[in-house]
Amino acid sequence: MNRSGSVGVVMLVHEALNRASQVARYWAENGCPVVVHVDLQVRQNDYQEFVDGLSDLPNLVLCNRHRCEWGRWSLVQASQTASERMLKTFPDVGHVLLASGSCLPLRPVQELVEYLKDRPRTDFIESTTTNDVPWTAGGLDSERFTLRFPFSWKRHRRSFDRYVRLQRKLGYKRAIPLGLVPHLGSQWWCLTRQTLSAILEDPKRKVYDRYFRRVWIPDESYYQTLARLYSTKIESRSLTLAKFDYQGKPHTFYDDHLQLLRRSDCFVARKIWPHADRLYQAFLSDDASKLKHAEPNPGKIDRVFAKAIERRTSGRAGMYMHSRFPVEGREKGVTASGYSVFQGYAELFEDFAPWLAKTTGAKVHGHLFSPCKVEFQRGESVYSGGLSDSAKIRDYNPKAFLTNLIWNARGEHQCFQFGPNDTQSLNWFIANDPNAHIWVITGAWIVPLFHSNMNFSEIRKKSARLQRIENEHMKVLGSPYVKARIKILTIAQFVETPMEHLQTIIDGIGPRKMRTLSEVPKMVDLTGFGKFLQNLKNQGMHPHLMDDFPASDHNAPVPPKPSKPYLVRE
């Protein structure tokens, strides 16, 4: 055995005894004295087996046992007892590392020893004031120190909560012993003999212990607070990599974290899944040739776990599944990405859809909400993700239809035509969706009627109905609550400067780079349209959504295909 053992390991063990034994042996055989505390709740047989398995190690001792419970004083007691034993039994020890049975050293012991030898006066203990920690679970941060916690959170949750509420109501506050400034931090520390012994031999220890006995999760605050009284140099970080989820439970490491752990350059990690054979095998086969002398760098692991927490708490916007089904208002985005709805454009231009697709690169569908059939682009009967063109399937759950379409598109901008002939069930949903861009030419639905061969009385009846429907829709879009981006023009307004409006659309859909119109869609022939509207009026119907369309033809703007395209500047 080498004499480099200036680092002692205090190990708290309560489960997976075979792994704890393996790691304890590893520390001891590599020259680090070990004191093990085994939870009194461990069965006698298992304990005996554990003891027997380690009996050949001269620098490993077991200390008196306490019955330990998560979040309670008993955990501190266990570490006190073991630490006292460590300081007494192994006078050479300079630093004491507190570890658990599910901790695993990630770097050769020699590296830790040298690292600490270079920093003989430094205490590594995460220790911050309650104002500075965003991570305490359950909303109990400063109250940990000012309320009493006689009830077990694990076993008597209701009493625990009730007693907390009662104390809050009564305005009860415990006095914090004079001279103490409550600090919190990871319970896995590495302290110098000086600091640790000062804490344990403090004449006022009884006072402090009595106080911390009723503090909530004292193992995260006892040493963290007291070290501030004596340490000459605190590095407020733990040498033990331990990540916690959003409920304050430690993340577990598995075999597939091997590379991540290797690259972290941390000295110790917790907690390791007991069946992670590869991890135990990889990290306990000490290979001194691999010494790296690197500073711990848990950044990448931090990101992996931060992302996991985000996924659990925020989730992916616009995605609905069997383990994510947000109630209304909690979606964090009802759809996954931007999409555009065009009302009246396909009626006014002969080749609007193909033109739009070509110009913007977006996917341009027909009337997705047509009552007979979902008009996917190019008349496809099935679309991305396996969406069916069956109107019945769509209408069975129209919201799911739309959110699926947008989610499946994976960022490809989806456009579709809409109008008063379509099913109107999603009008509010789309109007409230900030991802929706709605472009409307009101009254344009009448153009096909104008071109149709129907009897005028029928046209009149049909227009009245469609106008009513579109009017309802416009009321929705005009509501102060809508969140979609909406541009509404009457057909009269639109035909005055069609190019300008088309350019706005292109800019709205397209990627950042400015695109200019090199080709414009062909507007349908509106010769006689003004007269047609006048006839409707004469027959008693008021086509108000069309605005004041000029009645005489020479005003009707039918833009010829320009040889040189317009350039519209903003």
């Binding site: 708490t313 089904f325 396996g386 699926n404």
Partner: protein
């Protein structure tokens, strides 16, 4: 009862509960798949098989079999049998209730065993784990490539629908009702409300007070059905890859139709039968080819939740 090896079950064992009827050709791969995953024991109800399934299973060292000649229908689609066995042998265990054509995929299932998942669920105080049924199908006629005993069925049925699932909440039991996939897309275009349910909660830390209500779609008490997050986040979940659509399907559908034992006069099987007569091809150009669980996660068919 043919063989009862439940005496071997240890306190921390993970147990599969399943019913079967004439599934002989599927059994070897089923057992292999779940043994590799870390399942310790199989408890099977055999519904009157006559193709050697029962004899084959009885020989397995980790299988216990019960035999029932009762009608599948009168015993409420097998749920009653399973509930009884779950109560008797499942208490205190993680119980995975699946059919022999359902293959669980969960986050990290290619690198972590089922025990890793159940340990994590235990540590997180999560008693039930959901997995959406994902219908898998071949490209081309489903009877084109014969399935061989012991073969990974997803070598043939490698495709699935990735994004046509609809969800509604069942207020009565607080569970989600998920429909969609190729069956809804092809067989139920005119009556989508009758498309089969794809939501399943197959993995449960069983307690004798628990009971499956309808297949593994939902449980009592209702809290067990809250496998989904309602405040925006995602809970961890998996998929059950469904190897139903192989060349074995035609014969099965015919048999089930003749027996008339399935839910609601077998309308489902009738729909399949009719459609499959003319063109038994579920594939379309938007079908997705299965790669691994990560792909399913990216597509939004399952989630890691906060398991990392």
């Amino acid at each position: 009862m043919v063989s009862n090896r439940t005496g071997q079950i240890k306190s921390r064992d993970i147990i599969i509960f399943s019913t079967m009827r004439n599934e002989r050709i599927r059994l070897p791969y089923f057992l292999e798949y779940y043994r590799n995953m870390g399942v310790n024991h199989f408890i099977i109800v055999d519904n009157d098989s006559d193709d050697g399934s029962r004899e084959y299973m009885a020989e397995q060292p980790d299988v216990s079999i019960w035999v029932s000649a009762n009608s599948y229908k009168t015993a409420r689609f097998g749920t009653d049998w399973l509930n009884w066995l779950l109560m008797k042998y499942g208490h205190g265990h993680w119980a995975l209730t699946v059919d022999v054509d359902e293959f669980l995929v969960f986050p990290f299932s290619d690198t972590r065993s089922l025990r890793a998942l159940t340990d994590w669920l235990d540590a997180s105080s999560i008693p039930s784990f959901s997995a959406m049924l994902l219908d898998m199908y071949p490209k081309g006629r489903i009877d084109a490539t014969p399935y061989n005993e012991g073969q990974d069925p997803f070598e043939i049925a490698a495709w699935f629908d990735s994004g046509n699932y609809t969800i509604t909440k069942n207020k009565r039991y607080s569970n989600l009702w998920v429909q969609g996939g190729p069956r809804a897309r092809i067989f139920f275009t005119d009556n989508p409300e009758r498309a089969p349910a794809m939501n399943k909660i197959p993995l449960v830390k069983w307690h004798r007070k628990y009971t499956y209500v309808s297949s593994t779609h939902m449980l009592l008490p209702r809290g067990l059905n809250k496998v989904y997050e309602e405040w925006g986040g995602e809970k961890a979940s998996g998929c059950l890859l469904h190897a139903k659509f192989l060349d074995t399907f035609g014969a099965k559908a015919k048999e089930e139709l003749a027996r008339g034992q399935h839910y609601a006069n077998s309308h489902e099987y009738k729909a399949y039968h009719d459609a499959m007569e003319d063109d038994p091809d579920l594939w379309c150009k938007w079908s997705e080819k299965y790669i691994n669980w990560r792909q399913l996660e990216i597509l939004g068919l399952m989630s890691k939740g906060n398991w990392a």
